[in-house]
């Protein structure tokens, strides 16, 4: 498992979250300046310097459910509010989208191009905001500073990595997404996902940059001279890659994975079907009590301590965003969600308190359990019991 994976996971899932929120804000006719403010608040939380410092520290990946608490908090970094069912759906969509991107990456290294596609789009979200010019200047100032720091982190972490190290990163990401087969209607419609929740792997199109189109056997003599050339039928229908995507700050990424696939006429929908119950065997994570949960919580607390959340107590009234078309659908989704996809265990509500050594205690103290409280002897055991349920 690569300890360099978390930044890529966080940034790409964050990028997908912004795409979805942007689309839902439009669909729900939230006024433009209010919608932009929401996205800006989330983006500035994501790229907060202290948070970035924690994010880029070498560390193992969290479990799917632990990472969800990070996004839960991030999504609520603005005046917008999401209820449980909408948050579940948002996280499902984000994770399935990035799983698709990682799976289809031509080379392991190209997961960086996917990240750049997300970052390019995030840049677009910030620039496109004439209505709140007075804030933009401030954001730009902060952003230039943060951008430099962020790019330095990115360069330091991924700059000199070998193909082997990127392969390990990709394997780590795929391990994170293993056994996740939620069906997304947009993917089903576009025929990139099968009805059993598995993604379609194309056997045509360009081969990865640096790879030859399969179908040729070449034989050499002991002096290295080619003595025989035989073609064979590979079975796929590939062409040479036109060019390599740009890994520079600006440039043509070539790869389309990681760009915004939503638009007003392509609404966000998920199918949570019972069928996935049978298709996805339950993972270790769900069944085995995890004695390491306390440690994970510790890591999580440190990471989230870096997040600055604005309380929605300002002059602007908050609003609720619905990931579903109607409130009834949302209620229905909450009721029919398959049990193994349930995240309803912890709800960490960290506040502005920045003191490192107090964070864990605070988060432990504020941990809310939404199902029945378990009976256990000590506070620490309680916490473990809760995390077991994760």
């Amino acid at each position: 498992m690569s300890v360099r994976t978390l930044p890529l996971l966080f940034l790409n899932l964050g990028g997908e979250m912004l795409y979805i929120l942007d689309q839902r804000l439009r669909a729900q006719n939230i006024p433009g300046d209010k919608a932009r403010k929401v996205l800006h608040d989330i983006i500035s939380t994501m790229f907060n310097r202290k948070f970035m410092e924690e994010l880029f520290k070498p560390q193992e990946l969290y479990s799917k459910k632990a990472l969800r608490t990070v996004y839960d908090r991030l999504a609520h970094a603005s005046i917008m509010r999401l209820n449980q069912a909408s948050m579940d759906k948002l996280y499902d969509l984000m994770t399935m989208a990035f799983k698709h991107q990682v799976l289809l990456c031509p080379r392991p290294k190209d997961v960086l191009l996917v990240t750049f596609n997300h970052l390019d789009a995030i840049k677009g979200f910030i620039q496109d905001s004439p209505a709140i010019l007075h804030q933009v200047e401030e954001i730009f100032r902060q952003l230039t500073e943060v951008k430099c720091f962020f790019l330095l982190c990115l360069w330091q972490t991924y700059g000199g990595l070998s193909a082997g190290e990127f392969q390990l990163i990709r394997q780590t990401l795929l391990t994170f997404f293993q056994d996740l087969h939620i069906r997304v209607s947009l993917f089903l419609k576009d025929k990139v996902q099968n009805s059993n929740g598995r993604f379609v792997l194309p056997v045509s199109g360009p081969v990865p940059w640096g790879t030859e189109v399969p179908g040729l056997i070449r034989m050499f003599d002991s002096k290295g001279k080619e003595v025989k050339k035989v073609e064979f039928k590979h079975g796929g229908n590939y062409v040479t890659a036109p060019k390599e995507g740009s890994f520079e700050l600006y440039g043509d990424r070539v790869l389309k994975l990681g760009t915004n696939m939503y638009s007003v006429n392509r609404p966000v929908e998920t199918h949570m079907s019972g069928a996935s119950k049978n298709l996805a065997p339950r993972t270790q994570e769900n069944i085995a009590p995890n004695p390491l949960a306390k440690e994970e919580l510790n890591f999580l607390a440190r990471l989230m301590g870096g997040m600055e959340i604005k309380k929605p107590s300002g002059p602007e009234p908050g609003f609720r965003l619905n990931l579903f078309t109607t409130d009834e659908e949302e209620e229905q989704a909450a009721l029919t969600r398959p049990e193994e996809l349930s995240y309803e265990v912890i709800n960490i509500q960290a506040t502005q308190d920045q003191q490192r050594n107090e964070e864990l205690a605070r988060i432990m103290g504020e941990l809310e359990v939404t199902d029945q409280p378990r009976q256990s002897a000590s506070k620490g055991d309680d916490l473990l019991a809760m995390m077991d349920g994760l």
């Binding site: 498992m1 193992e60 080379r107 792997l201 056997v203 790879t211 064979f232 270790q284």
Partner: protein, 368 residues
Amino acid sequence: MYVWVARPRLLAVRTCVVSMVAVDSQGPQDSAVRMFRRERSIPLRGSAAALCNNLSVLQLPSRNLTHFGVVHGPSAQLVSAAPEGVPLAQRQLHAKEGAGVSPPLITQVHWCVLPFRVLLVLTSHRGIQMYESDGSVMVYWHALDSGDASPVQAVFARGIAASGHFICVGTWSGQILVFDIPAKGPNIVLSEELAGHQTPVTDIATEPAQGQDYVADMVTADDSGLLCVWRSGPEFKLLTRIPGFGVPCPSVQLWHGTVAAGYGDGQVRLYEASTGTLHVQISAHARAICALDLAPEAGKLLSAAEDTFVHIWKLSRSPESGYTEVEHCHGECVPDTQVCGARFCDPSGSSFAVTGYDLAEILRFSSV
């Protein structure tokens, strides 16, 4: 508790269409050997992890049994099956735990057939576990020393092979650990540490020495694509280094002094083991190769890649020139499956098994 829903899974299997593609464009002869048919698959408790060489097969013809080993993530599953693919027994193994946020991930499981015994070796991000062949008793544990590793370095063991009475295991640092295995009992000793690689070891292949001196009988591969060719013995000797091309070499095999290497850019290359001379280069796959295997009796090579294809090749020595030649025998597409492991299931290469990332079954194919 874990619930194993077997029936719907089997139904799903039947509806999954596996297409046969690409009978070779070359020769018209022996088409009977070339066609493979999908057989009943073996259900797994957990899906296969996205690792290279993520399938080990132990053939026990005397008992009419085949053992399969697949890594799920923090656990690995062993299944034994009758010839028709009926699963008879299964066992779950776990990596020994240590400090860390999550349970350690397993990197590989592999059966090592030694002269007097068979051991199952499991490598993880913590160390090396050796079991009796059925996985019932752990006979040896070797913890990895992360000593001089930087915090960004992933520490793990990977690449397992038996050579004589030794078991060789590769590590993250590029070292090959050589363990001396007694005919019975747990008295296993780390006898040598071989230096040759600078990047993490990916795979190790061996073949029985033919009795000659200075014969190359072990090859090791790494993340940079470098291959090291060794002669085994009380002291292992590095014979040749075959430079890489900047892409990893996830899988290697050794057949009659010929090294077969599968690379991250879909290429398969065949080298003379003793000299490192390149004999054959195959643009075999459109994505990274994840597994090679050999059927030594038939001289058949199997290559499997993330492009969803498994190819079978026939290797031969040209009688006139003495060079290694290759012929394409069969191509099999496993639709929408990022293949992560593939092995022949018999010494003649007339059947093979395939695992795929996220897929909770072992797919089986045999020649018609």
